[in-house]
C-alpha cells in the first residue's frame, strides 16, 4: 500500500513536469543494509518516445578541490581496500526499454560476500537513458548535408549498504577566509568520524558585534572522508567592524527521511574583521 502511494506520488510529481521530459528517477539515494538487502528506484518516461535504459554500478564518492568545488571521484584503479559495494550489487532489469509514458521499478539487490567487515559500503548506480531512433535508410537520406547531434543522459545516483552497526560524526578541521572582490570567501574544512558517511547540513551565520545575524547560508554536505566547502558572503551593506562566522553542522536533512545517520550538532566560530 505504502509503495503504491509512493508510486502515485512520483506520478503526480512527474505529471507536473512538461511532457517532453525524458526520464525521471526516484529516489536519488538508496540505503540498504544486511536486514534489507533490496530496494528499488522508480523510472518514469514522461515522453512520447521510448527510451533504452541500462544500469551499471561504479565506486565513487564526493571529493573537493582547493577552491571547495565538489565532484564525485571515480577511481581509475582500486586497491581492494575501498568500501566498494559495486561488485556485489545487481539491478533487475539491468537493460530495458521504457515505453512512452511508462513507469517501472528497477530493483537493486545486494549480495555481499560472507564475512563482510562491519561498516558502510558505497556505490554509484549509473542509469543511462537514450532515446530510441529510427535508422535512416537510403531513401530517407537528404540530397544536401544535414548535421544533428542527439543526446544520451547518464544519471548518477547514490547507494549505501550498511553492514552491522554504523555511526558517523564530523570534525571541523579549519576555517579560512579571504576577500575576493565584493565578497568574503569562507572555506570550511571537515573530516568525517565513525564508519559511515556524514550526510547533513552546514549552516553559516555571520554575526555582527551586537549579536545580530547579518547573513545566513545553509548548504547540504556529504562528507565521505574529508571535504572542503565554500561559502561566499556578499559584503555589500556590511559596515566595517568585528564579526563572528559561526558554522553549525547537523544531520537534520529532510530529503531522505529515516535513512540519514544522526550525529550531535557541531558548532565552531571564528572572529573576523571587515576593514
Amino acid at each position: 500500500m505504502r509503495g503504491s502511494i509512493s508510486f502515485l506520488t512520483l506520478f503526480i510529481v512527474c505529471g507536473l513536469c512538461p511532457l517532453y521530459s525524458q526520464a525521471s528517477f526516484a529516489p536519488v539515494a538508496l540505503y540498504l543494509d544486511n536486514a534489507h538487502r533490496s530496494g528499488y528506484i522508480l523510472a518514469d518516461n514522461g515522453t512520447e518516445k521510448a527510451q533504452e535504459v541500462s544500469i551499471e554500478f561504479v565506486f565513487g564518492y564526493p571529493v573537493s578541490d582547493s577552491t571547495g568545488k565538489v565532484t564525485i571521484f571515480f577511481p581509475d584503479s582500486l586497491t581492494g581496500a575501498e568500501p566498494n559495494a559495486a561488485p556485489w550489487l545487481f539491478a533487475y532489469p539491468r537493460k530495458f526499454r521504457l515505453e512512452p509514458y511508462q513507469r517501472r521499478k528497477i530493483r537493486f539487490i545486494a549480495r555481499p560476500p560472507q564475512n563482510l567487515p562491519v561498516g558502510e559500503y558505497w556505490a554509484r548506480p549509473i542509469i543511462t537513458s537514450t532515446e530510441t531512433r529510427k535508422l535512416l535508410t537510403g531513401g530517407d537520406q537528404p540530397r544536401g548535408i544535414e548535421a544533428k547531434v542527439y543526446f544520451q543522459i547518464r544519471s548518477v545516483l547514490a547507494l549505501s549498504y550498511r553492514n552491522g552497526p554504523v555511526s558517523t560524526g564530523i570534525i571541523i578541521q579549519g576555517i579560512s577566509a579571504k576577500a575576493q572582490g565584493d565578497s568574503l570567501v569562507l572555506l570550511l574544512d571537515m573530516e568525517r568520524t565513525g564508519n559511515a558517511a556524514y550526510i547533513g547540513n552546514a549552516i553559516l551565520r555571520f554575526v555582527d558585534s551586537s549579536g545580530s545575524v547579518k547573513r545566513s547560508i545553509t548548504k547540504q554536505i556529504a562528507v565521505y572522508y574529508t571535504l572542503r566547502k565554500r561559502f561566499d558572503i556578499d559584503l555589500a551593506g556590511l559596515t566595517p567592524g568585528e564579526y563572528v562566522a559561526e558554522f553549525e553542522l547537523n544531520t537534520m536533512r529532510d530529503d531522505s527521511p529515516g535513512n540519514i545517520l544522526q550525529a550531535a550538532p557541531v558548532i565552531k566560530s571564528v572572529a573576523l574583521t571587515i576593514p
Binding site: 500500500m1 505504502r2 502511494i5 509512493s6 506520488t9 512520483l10 510529481v13 513536469c17 512538461p18 517532453y20 521530459s21 525524458q22 526520464a23 525521471s24 528517477f25 526516484a26 529516489p27 536519488v28 539515494a29 522508480l42 518514469d44 514522461g46 515522453t47 564526493p62 568545488k69 565538489v70 565532484t71 564525485i72 554509484r124 549509473i126 543511462t128 537514450t130 532515446e131 535512416l136 530517407d140 537520406q141 537528404p142 544536401g144 548535408i145 544535414e146 548535421a147 544533428k148 547531434v149 542527439y150 543526446f151 544520451q152 543522459i153 547518464r154 544519471s155 548518477v156 545516483l157 547514490a158 548548504k219 547540504q220 554536505i221 556529504a222 571535504l227 530529503d255 531522505s256 527521511p257
Partner: protein, 172 residues
C-alpha cells in the same frame, strides 16, 4: 394527498438513514505517502545544424540559438541543490555510414542557467565538468553549441552523433 404522503415517507426514510449513518461508530484508516525526491533530466532540443554547405563552417551558439538549434537539457530536482554536469566523450566527428563530418566544441560552447529561455547563461567548457546549483524552483537548463566543418568534398547525407550528459547530485 397521496403525493404528500409519499414525500413524507421518503423524507422520513432519508432522516432515518441519516440518523443510522450518524450513529455508526467512527472508523479511520491511515494513509501514508513517502514523497520521493526525483531527478528528472530531459533532452529538450537536439543540437541541430540543419543544412550545411560543403566547405562552409556552420556554428550554433548556445545563447543566441537557445530557442531554436542549440542543444538544450532541462534538469529538475531538489531546489537549491548542487549538481555536477559533465559532457562525457564529446564527439569530434558526426557520421553518416562510412562518411564523417568534423565537429568541434569551444571552451565556452556550454552554458547553464535557471532561465528556460537560455538567458543569463553561465558559460562552461563542455570538455570539463562543472558544478551548478538548481534554482529555488528546482530547475536548471543546460545549453550546448558547437561548430561543424564540412569539407569542400563532403558527401551529401544526414550526419549524426551522440553527446552524453552525465549528471549527479554532489550531495552538497
Amino acid at each position: 394527498m397521496k403525493r404528500c404522503f409519499f414525500l413524507l415517507v421518503v423524507l422520513s426514510f432519508v432522516l432515518l438513514m441519516g440518523g443510522v449513518a450518524f450513529a455508526q461508530p467512527e472508523a479511520s484508516i491511515t494513509a501514508t505517502a513517502t514523497v520521493l525526491s526525483p531527478l528528472t533530466i530531459s533532452g529538450d532540443q537536439n543540437l541541430n545544424f540543419g543544412d550545411v554547405l560543403p566547405g562552409v563552417n556552420s556554428s550554433v551558439d548556445k545563447a543566441t540559438d537557445a530557442g531554436t538549434n542549440a542543444g538544450k537539457f532541462s534538469i529538475s530536482g531538489n531546489p537549491s541543490s548542487e549538481i555536477n554536469l559533465e559532457f562525457t566523450a564529446l564527439p569530434n566527428a558526426l557520421t553518416n555510414g562510412a562518411n564523417s563530418l568534423t565537429i568541434s566544441f569551444s571552451s565556452t560552447d556550454a552554458g547553464h542557467t535557471t532561465n528556460t529561455d537560455g538567458s543569463s547563461q553561465t558559460a562552461f567548457d563542455p570538455s570539463a565538468s562543472t558544478t551548478a546549483t538548481l534554482g529555488t524552483g528546482g530547475n536548471l537548463y543546460v545549453f550546448l553549441g558547437g561548430t561543424v566543418q564540412p569539407t569542400h568534398t563532403q558527401t551529401a547525407g544526414t550526419y549524426t552523433g551522440t553527446v552524453t550528459l552525465q549528471i549527479y547530485y554532489t550531495g552538497n
